[in-house]
Symmetry: C2
């Protein structure tokens, strides 16, 4: 093959940028300190050969899993050796970029004990967990029960004689199924089960259960445990031991029930503690907030790959004696740039959610529950919106890379496969949108009764106005005004909400209405969530944005985000008379000119994500754009290229070619 | 685990059906004979242990490929032993359901020699190919050149001295890259290269080139060949040896240039034969027509799995003491039933395309080229529309199966991964839609000049009417009238076409307009293609449809197909004033009642596809609905479950748990 040139094939693209990219990197990272930590951890991982990822697609399941165990141990070793802070450690694990049991240990097991354990329980279990002397997972989902947590079948029956709970799986469908880290790695789990005392069912609660011996890692008596098998994609979540788990009357001491909110006394009486149950919602807000942050990360990775490759790839036409860069085609721009804009939009709404979580936590501590339903609906909706969009967008980015996007070495197939479960876990996206819609219906129905909408629903206070206000767009330039756009999104959401509420009111039983109109309710919730993202992007731009040209770029992206949504959901805006066809047509013209404005900045806008080639894991998305020789290099690593004549030739090809099939052993 | 009961868990669902399912099976298959052949071949494959598929996700690349070679040889052996007809053989290969070199041999290599070879060439090469004494592939795409075939770089330079062509790869990007069957299996290829004689470039032509020795399968001198590496998904296209190929001045005799249309004489003169070049278009129409047929097949598989599992899966609510079947939720219906309707719609439009291909072939033989551009645009557009929808729909079906859809044993991840390249190969879907749009713009611009639109564009003759006609919907029931719906789709397409043509006319250079407005042109083409599918569904229902209740079911599906498109593209219909908001709202109500109408028939409507459990390859889509015990069975096959304590425990888990990392060898 050609000798490898140490050339930056994208240098021309980079020289076109009209903004201060270092300033943009800091905006993206969320601050100078965050940038510095991220940058340092990313480089640390990228330079360590133990963390190589390029062989994942060709490792078999056992090799893959063993390799993940190795990476997890090595990461932990580095964290200890380098005395990394919690923030640094978490960033390091993030850049290792391989689903592992540690995700659940740090991300679920520890937080749930923190959130639902008593002071005493926290003191007992957390130090062991922090030192990884025990490895824990989160065993909630069952084979027959996912979204409906209240329908879980596993039982935890209190035996007052021995002061123990008996954990049991009464049916096949009650088997725990899916928990990550459960299948092979975890020694402990927080198991969610029906609390039963004195023959009475007290609903679902968490219990700390030891699964495996700390001596030899063998499952304890009464515990049947295993891996649930291969999942979507090459590498991807197959590095994780998502597991199944059945209990045959497994006994645990009473004090392993997580008792921060609900307690069982020595006599078997169930009592509520003085800790309000609402505190448990805090954890949910926390987890979903991290999922939104992950969405912007996954989306920006895909967009970075597709944008760089679109500048490298040429096809048809002519541009200074070459074919045209595909990034110069409007069809490519109109698919790619809205995704680039969405990556930034999700980044900023994720940042805002961090603030929201802090706010909720402080209020909960002060026993102020007034904003909790709104915060809960808001995070549920944004989790749903951002993960659905991101999953589709990764696949769209793959298609934008043409045929080569189908190669594992493009990085996009694995990114897609590893990402899509986010649409299902921690609340199925449709179920979550229905929760948002119910909240909106309730908010609107209470408007007359003095209940003031809070937070992201405050706009409903101006309902009368929003139901009638015309859209203030006369000329194309009006579409660039943030207040015009925000009010338009408010009007659309308000009008759809009210229309749906009216339709609901025609049903004699409200539940029948919710069932029959649920598809429309989903659209209403989507409109509301899109409004939130648009508003938070606009609010971000009202802050001080340092760096030459940075604000202008972000303004263009914000407009692209809003106007491309308007184009996609045009039916919503027209059917509610929020805009006219003429205004829609103007918006379309503005979009095109915004694409032209972003075009020269596109490469710099994805460079601002500051992703290493290791993290991207994509030949097509290489920083230097040196795509084609590297595709060859990757191809040659395939085991099928180990021999020129393939294994199987003598048994299965030669007999065909030589017409000797009759006697062949197949 | 529980003992396996030979029970049909879906028997209640099946008893609800309101139509003659055997009659529907024949409609779906396209006739009694087609049904019988399909049914027999599917069973033949399903009952043969060599053709098992359930282990694909856990085989490594080499095992997977070797296994595919075995299946291909075994299939060929069975075809010969049973003296299967061409139709039977092709069905058998179809049900083996594993991408293999034989797909390209039978589907591309042979057809291209048939279509582009002279009488003499056909006589020489085809008998060998039919007996598989040689194995051929189709080497067109290059590392740097996909959509733009005219930009291929491989050269075929005529050497008059030796009466040979010299095939050469002048650059890295000129490497052939992607051809299936090329990497390890094929002995020959039709190579597309620039024909150069006497220093002059005569454009792209096909050449038959031997790649490997027929004695020992080693590549011939000057030929560098290999596999391009892992692709998206588990199993999926990794069973195929998509290859790369470079030529270092490889010589072939002059008579291995495919010369049906263009010929090179002994002296090196290029002459056109008396065969019109348009004949080559016939092959393209043929190939794309088969892709549309494949789309309805892939889509119906996914829908079958998701529909059956939606009837098995229960979550929330209550229904006779159980949780509610998820198929009873409107959100599930509003996502699933339009896809079910699309499967039928694509089946019928595919059937019609078969007729179109025959018609085109007959006309070409009679030197009638009048319908060719329309037929070409139509197949290009339908290829694009059906493959894009199908790819997205498979993923939507996977999501409709909740968490378990993410398991390989659901069959959906592999179905998705193996299907998505259809959006890119044989014409990138966006590039194809732009071709359709150009054709529409040309058709409209010529309306005044006496050129009569033909075939699927005939409606443009009524342009004046369509630009003004109001939608004839007063009450909900009007939405069920086929002529109302067809005229509406005609009006939408006509109005969008004219609006785009007007915008184009404002550009001084037409090409600038095509570039700048290409995203809008794509929407226009989509509207036109959707009209074709709706029309062909309606036309199908105007034929005699035997079987009790069959026609009623298909009418409901036809309405669902059209009205769900209307809902999805509401912006198009409203912005062109084709309908009012009030009418849109009525359409939405009608959709809901159609869903209720289809609900009791849903299982029978997917049973009518007559897919074996082997072909479906999905635990979730099992005919008997016995999902949960079988998920366990599949899980237990995972290599990770071979030992209770995982490989890697002593090296990488114990040192973590025992705090002995410092001395551990990682």
């Amino acid at each position: 093959m050609e000798a490898e040139a140490a050339v930056d094939y994208l240098v021309d693209e980079r020289s076109k940028a009209q903004f201060d990219i270092d300033a943009m990197k800091i905006i993206w990272a969320g601050g100078k300190h965050e940038f510095e930590v991220s940058d340092r951890m990313a480089r640390l991982v990228a330079s360590d050969p133990v963390f190589r990822k390029d062989n994942r697609a060709i490792l078999d399941r056992k090799e893959l899993f063993k390799n993940t165990l190795r990476k997890a141990a090595h990461a932990w070793k580095r964290i200890i050796e380098l005395r990394l802070s919690e923030q640094e450690a978490s960033k390091l694990r993030f850049f290792v970029d391989e689903p592992a049991y540690t995700d659940l240990h740090w991300g679920m097991f520890i937080p749930v004990i923190k959130g639902q354990g008593t002071e005493e329980q926290r003191k007992k279990w957390l130090p062991m967990a922090y030192r990884m002397q025990i490895i824990g997972c989160y065993a909630q989902t069952e084979l027959g029960h996912g979204s409906n947590v209240q329908g879980l079948e596993t039982t935890a029956t209190f035996d007052p004689e021995l002061d123990e709970f008996v954990i049991h799986s009464p049916t096949l469908t009650s088997s725990k199924w899916w928990p990550g880290g459960l299948g092979r790695a975890s020694t402990h789990a927080v198991v969610f089960a029906r609390l039963i005392t004195d023959g009475k069912d007290h609903g679902i609660n968490g219990f700390i259960v030891q699964l495996r011996s700390l001596d030899d890692h063998l499952p304890l008596p009464g515990i049947i445990i295993g891996d649930i098998g291969m999942k979507f994609g090459n590498g991807a979540y197959n590095t994780m031991d998502n597991g199944f788990l059945r209990f045959d009357h497994v006994r645990i001491p009473r004090d392993q029930m997580l008792m921060r909110v609900k307690q069982v006394t020595r006599e078997g009486k169930v009592v509520q503690s003085d800790v309000p149950w609402q505190l448990l919602y805090g954890t949910m807000v926390y987890v979903r907030q991290t999922i939104v942050a992950d969405a912007s990360c996954a989306l920006s990775r895909a967009v970075c790959i597709a944008t760089r490759y679109s500048a490298v790839r040429r096809q048809f036409g002519s541009q200074n004696g070459h074919e045209t860069q595909v990034i110069d085609y409007r069809t490519q721009q109109s698919r790619l740039f809205p995704l680039l804009a969405s990556a930034y939009a999700f980044r900023f709404v994720g940042e805002w959610l961090k603030w929201l979580y802090m706010d909720v936590t402080q209020r909960l501590q002060a026993r102020d529950f007034s904003t909790l339903p709104e915060a809960h609906a808001c995070t549920a909706g944004l989790k749903s919106l951002t993960t659905s969009v991101t999953a589709d967008a990764i696949e769209e980015c793959r298609k934008l890379c043409g045929g080569h996007g189908y190669l594992c070495s493009s990085g996009l197939p694995e990114l897609f496969a590893v990402y899509v479960p986010a649409c299902t876990y921690e609340g199925d996206n449709i179920v979550l949108l229905l929760q948002v819609a119910r909240f909106l219906m309730k908010t609107v129905s209470q408007l007359g009764s003095g209940e003031r909408p809070v937070g992201t629903t405050t706009y409903l206070l101006r309902l009368e106005h929003l139901l009638q206000c015309p859209c203030d767009v006369q000329g194309a330039e009006d579409w660039l005004k943030p207040d015009v756009v925000v009010q338009l999104f408010e009007a659309r959401s308000a009008r759809m909400t009210v229309a749906c509420a009216k339709s609901l009111s025609k049903f004699s039983k409200p539940e029948d209405g919710f069932m029959d109109l649920s598809a429309d309710l989903v659209s209403v919730a989507t409109a509301h969530c899109q409004l939130i993202v648009v508003s938070k992007f606009v609010e971000k731009l009202q802050q001080d944005i340092p760096g030459e040209g940075v604000k202008q770029q972000l303004e263009a992206l914000c407009s692209i985000y809003a106007l491309s949504l308007l184009k996609k959901h045009l039916g919503d805006f027209l059917s509610t008379s929020c805009i006219t066809s003429k205004q829609a047509s103007l918006a379309n013209d503005v979009l095109r000119s915004l694409y032209s404005q972003v075009r020269p900045n596109a490469i710099a806008l994805v460079d601002a994500f500051n992703y290493t080639d290791h993290f991207l894991g994509s030949v097509l998305g290489r920083y230097d754009g040196n795509v084609y020789p590297k595709l060859y290099e990757e191809a040659l690593k395939d085991p099928l290229n180990e021999s020129v004549v393939p294994d199987g030739y003598h048994e299965y090809l030669q007999p065909v070619l030589k017409q000797r099939l009759r006697t062949a052993r197949l």
